[in-house]
């Protein structure tokens, strides 16, 4: 181990890794927000609560049915995605013709309900979730100690992010999706069931949030308020990146995670606020966001 600017390399790279992990959650969540906003014209305030539900689903699956982490990685997003589809059918579908702000208010209300109910049953204290056996331990890279699980989270998030990018930007399904975002009436006239696409898009975006939640469970404790703390930061990430581009959302998410991690090393007092400060600067310099198109 050695030192950089008087900081031990293990501390520097350790925080960088945490930055990458947070960055992958930012990327997964802002990706979902962007896809949902494109199709539904709603900013999904429930996104943080759905991330939390993903973590809780993994926790409960293990506690009640003994389903392990690897299965939970698939099952939990599906469960939460189905809950999302029900939410879209019961609540959100009535709002598409109204002003954006009603969507924000309704999903904010849903977030309060989900978080409040969870807190009533499980309290505010975090519940522990074990790192899966295959990923316990770690290896010494010479300049830092790399826990296996954390390396897995970063790698798997990257795969999911780029998989999503590929599906949306390079496949026929993605082309339908982009076309329906641009002009739903026309796409419908071509015989594509746009309302069903909207429903499934919401389920998919919510599933991504839940997937991030499952991955977060072994790193952070599973707690009811884990989502509301995150969602406000993710909003800032979305403002910085702009919601126009999938790749933009991924890059902004990871980039800001890294910046936040580095701030924790060099100027810890500002680590909570650095992303908001960057947002303010971006608003001054490039009001449309780094990857946004001018409205």
């Amino acid at each position: 181990m050695f030192e950089i600017f008087g900081i031990p390399s293990s501390a520097l790279f350790g925080q960088l890794l945490i930055g990458l992990i947070n960055g992958s959650f930012y990327a997964l969540l802002s990706l979902g927000l962007a896809v949902i906003f494109g199709m539904l014209n709603i900013i999904n305030f429930t996104h943080g609560a759905q991330y939390m539900l993903g973590a809780f689903a993994a926790f409960l699956l293990l506690q009640l049915t003994g389903i392990n982490y690897w299965l939970a990685l698939i099952v939990a997003p599906i469960i939460v995605g189905i809950i999302g589809i029900v939410i879209e059918r019961v609540f959100l579908q009535w709002l598409y013709k109204l002003d954006h702000l009603y969507g924000l208010l309704l999903t904010f209300g849903l977030a309060l309900i989900i978080e409040g109910v969870t807190r009533n049953y499980y309290g505010s204290a975090g519940l522990p979730y074990q790192v899966p056996e295959a990923l316990q331990g770690g290896r010494n890279l010479g300049f830092m100690f790399l826990p296996n699980y954390r390396a897995w989270v970063v790698a798997f998030s990257l795969v999911v992010c780029f998989g999503t990018w590929f599906v949306i930007e390079r496949t026929k399904l993605g082309a339908y999706l982009r076309a329906a975002t641009e002009n739903p009436t026309l796409v419908r006239a071509f015989g594509i069931n746009v309302p069903r696409m909207i429903t499934l898009t919401y389920g998919f975006g919510v599933g991504l949030a839940a997937l991030a939640g499952v991955m977060a469970a072994p790193i952070y404790n599973v707690s009811p308020q884990m989502g509301s703390e995150l969602i406000i930061v993710v909003f800032a990430v979305v403002v910085i990146g702009g919601m126009g581009s999938i790749m933009g959302a991924i890059l902004t998410g990871f980039g800001l995670g890294v910046v936040e991690g580095l701030t924790k090393v060099f100027f810890p007092e500002a680590s909570n606020t650095v992303i908001f400060v960057i947002m303010a600067i971006v608003l001054l310099v490039r009001p449309a966001g780094l990857f946004g198109r001018r409205a």
């Binding site: 702000l101 208010l105 209300g109 409040g116 109910v117 406000i232 400060v277 303010a280």
Partner: protein, 323 residues
Amino acid sequence: MEGVIAQATEKTTAAVRNWGEPVGFVVMLAALVVAPFFVYPLFLMQALCFALFASAFNLLIGYVGLLSFGHALYFGWASYITAYVAKTWGLTPELAILTGVLAAGVLGLVAGSLAIRRQGIYFAMVTLALAQMMYFFALQAKFTGGEDGIQGVPRGKLFGLISLASSEAMYIFVVAVFLAAFLLIYRIIHSPFGEVLKAIRENEARAISLGYKTERYKLAAFVLSAGLAGLAGGTKAIVMQIASLTDVNWPMSGEVVLMTLVGGLGTIFGPAVGAFIIVTMQFSLAQIGEWVSVIQGGIFVTCVLLFRRGVVGEIAHLLRIRL
């Protein structure tokens, strides 16, 4: 954006009779005179502070169509500044509150000039994020007392002469502050300036093409709203004799949205009525703890889906008057 909030409010047509506002005002005055004989005064004063807070918030969402999701920033920081200067510098309450209002106005100027650079849904996200940033500053700054807040704020003597220690004096002071701010908001809405704000709400592009520098109007409205929210926060700090993190955190921003939505967006009396409904609910349901937030969430959902006019907006619609 254009015209959508107008669906929730009453259109000003020739058919709309205008006896609503004077009658509403008389009813409100009567209620303020009679209420302290029946209701616990501290509760009333707190509810009045929230009524003022919600009315200030409504100036933005109801009349300019801008949803600020970070109004706790101005409410909470004004209450910290007021509490600090009243306790540490020993300023009289009116000067302490004025300091809080100025601080909120300056914060509103900074946050507002950033937020108006983006439209629609981004505006809400920017205001929320900036408020969260200032929440972390409040958490870390020395003078705010962190988790403890600033406690034991003296009510002091108004103008250095009249002690506000008794509930009666304090109540009269709070009512005076509330009425003055309420009339100011009423005046703003019905001034030529207010008409331009409504034009921006209905169709910003058209307002621009008519030659109005809409950004300046939006910023001016934002600063006014922030300052008035600060007036509510500062007054609350003097009344409750405490400034704490609760008032500056994001759930407070959500609560003021809820109050305004329940009462009626874009109605003059709605936010005050909504504030009394929500504060009453919180008081009477205090013993069920966390379920309060579940119920609040439920009210949000119900209001958005079924009840977008709010209580006062519904009444105004039924009677075909303006309230």
